[in-house]
């Protein structure tokens, strides 16, 4: 799975850039406008949706195939406990 960024944040950034007319990285040590530029970018980022995947579905058949091929491992993980049924629901 790829980060949600690819589909959500980049278009937001591009749209905002179209408004500001900025097309390249802002130069270091900018002049008086730098604060407002940064503020605009920060505002965009803050308004962007959550970007990190929550615990997510696995393509089990793909993963099993990759494990069989030795590309991925299936090493027992430590620090894991069964989760009670009544709480799982």
């Amino acid at each position: 799975m790829r980060p949600l960024l690819d589909v959500m944040l980049v278009p937001a950034l591009l749209a905002a850039l179209a408004v500001t007319g900025t097309v390249s990285h802002a130069p270091e040590d900018q002049g008086p406008d730098s604060t407002s530029f940064i503020d605009r970018v920060l505002e965009m980022v803050r308004e962007a949706p959550s970007w990190k995947h929550p615990p997510g579905e696995l393509d089990v058949s793909l993963v099993r195939e990759l494990i069989e091929q030795g590309i991925l491992s299936a090493h027992p993980a430590s620090w894991a406990v069964p989760y009670p049924e009544e709480r799982a629901d």
Binding site: A26, S73, H75, A88
Partner: protein, 334 residues
């Protein structure tokens, strides 16, 4: 009554993971009711680096470290410098086949003095790191962990026995910053720093200074006072320059003057060894004796160009003990 659902207690997310799901880290998956690591012995990045690149400036300077990382991370920093692998699922990045035994053999063959678990977040490949670190110690290699420190106390205490040095990324000093920027929280990171120090792991701290996010004087002073006050004046601090990356490509790089200012604030707060990384700042990578001010180690990028610290870790001019792990290095000019 138990089901096939499991809960991972490795890190503070404590993911509840149903069958055919994975945790936030992307690499710990529930297959038929058993939690497995998909990345054990499967690093996606393998390099020989100078230890200064981690950065560790007071730990075996001038030595090479065998550096490995798997895919995955339990945080989601918007500024991540290695996001192509840290935020990727393991099935999307072709890995090497490098079990712990082979990692140690390769490290020795490469002439390295240590193995570094780095680049992404080594906590997510916990079992691989732990087994490799145990073998490394048997082979006379040190183990280094470069981490954001987002781990629960039990696993950390088990792991820390086998780790010789750590650079912990303290990303900011507010919970809001961690939640908004990093998909995490602050308190577990502070706990990790305290525990590593308590257990005698050599510790250095890095703070990435991001324009507009954590770069005002109050932020920097708060962080500096916490490090000097809680961890002590001998813990080296690295202020690192942000470069436009991942989700913050339209922010400017951190101005050099901001980093120089951060260094001054940290020195004022009491830290005795404060450095600036990713950019050249006057004295930003120079180690000076805290007692007499003599130049002890000069660096050019990641290369040690001069070292005058004695093998026992003392200033040759005044005899002060310099905090760090100095290994077999002797007094020399290069």
């Amino acid at each position: 009554m138990a089901t096939d659902t499991v809960q991972c207690l490795l890190c503070p997310h404590c993911c509840v993971i149903r069958v055919r799901e994975r945790g936030v880290c992307g690499v710990r998956a529930n297959l038929d009711g058993e939690l497995v690591s998909l990345v054990y012995g499967r690093p996606v990045a393998v390099h020989v680096d100078p230890v200064e690149k981690k950065p560790l400036y007071h730990f075996m300077p001038g030595t090479a470290t065998f550096s490995i990382a798997t895919a995955g991370c339990n945080l989601g920093c918007r500024f991540c410098q290695n996001w192509e692998i840290s935020q990727a699922a393991p099935e999307d990045v072709p890995p090497y086949d490098l079990p712990p035994e082979a990692a140690v053999e390769e490290a020795l063959r490469s002439g390295c003095d240590s193995i570094a678990f780095t680049y992404t977040e080594p906590i997510v490949f916990y079992e691989y790191m732990l087994d490799t670190a145990k073998l490394a110690r048997e082979a006379g290699l040190a183990s280094i962990m470069v981490t954001a420190g987002y781990i629960n106390e039990g696993p950390l205490r088990e792991l820390a026995q086998w780790i010789d040095a750590a650079n912990v990324d303290l990303k900011g000093m507010t919970d809001a910053y961690y939640r908004e920027m990093c998909y995490g929280t602050l308190e577990p990171v502070q706990r990790t720093l305290r525990i590593l120090q308590e257990l005698g792991v050599w510790l250095e701290v890095t703070n990435l200074v991001v324009p507009g996010w954590n770069d005002d004087e109050e932020d920097l002073r708060s962080l500096s006072e916490w490090v000097a006050g809680e961890l002590g004046e001998d813990v080296p601090v690295h202020f690192s320059r942000f470069m436009p990356m991942y989700q913050l490509t339209e922010l400017p790089p951190t101005p050099a003057r901001t980093l120089a200012g951060a260094r001054e604030i940290s020195l004022e707060a009491g830290s005795r060894y404060v450095y600036v990384g990713n950019v050249v700042v006057e004295n930003g990578s120079l180690t000076r004796c805290h007692n007499c001010g003599a130049d002890l180690i000069r660096r050019d990028l990641f290369e040690v160009t001069m070292s005058r610290i004695s093998a026992s870790g003392h200033c040759p001019d005044c005899g002060a003990s310099i905090p760090g792990v100095w290994g077999t290095g002797g007094t020399e000019e290069r």
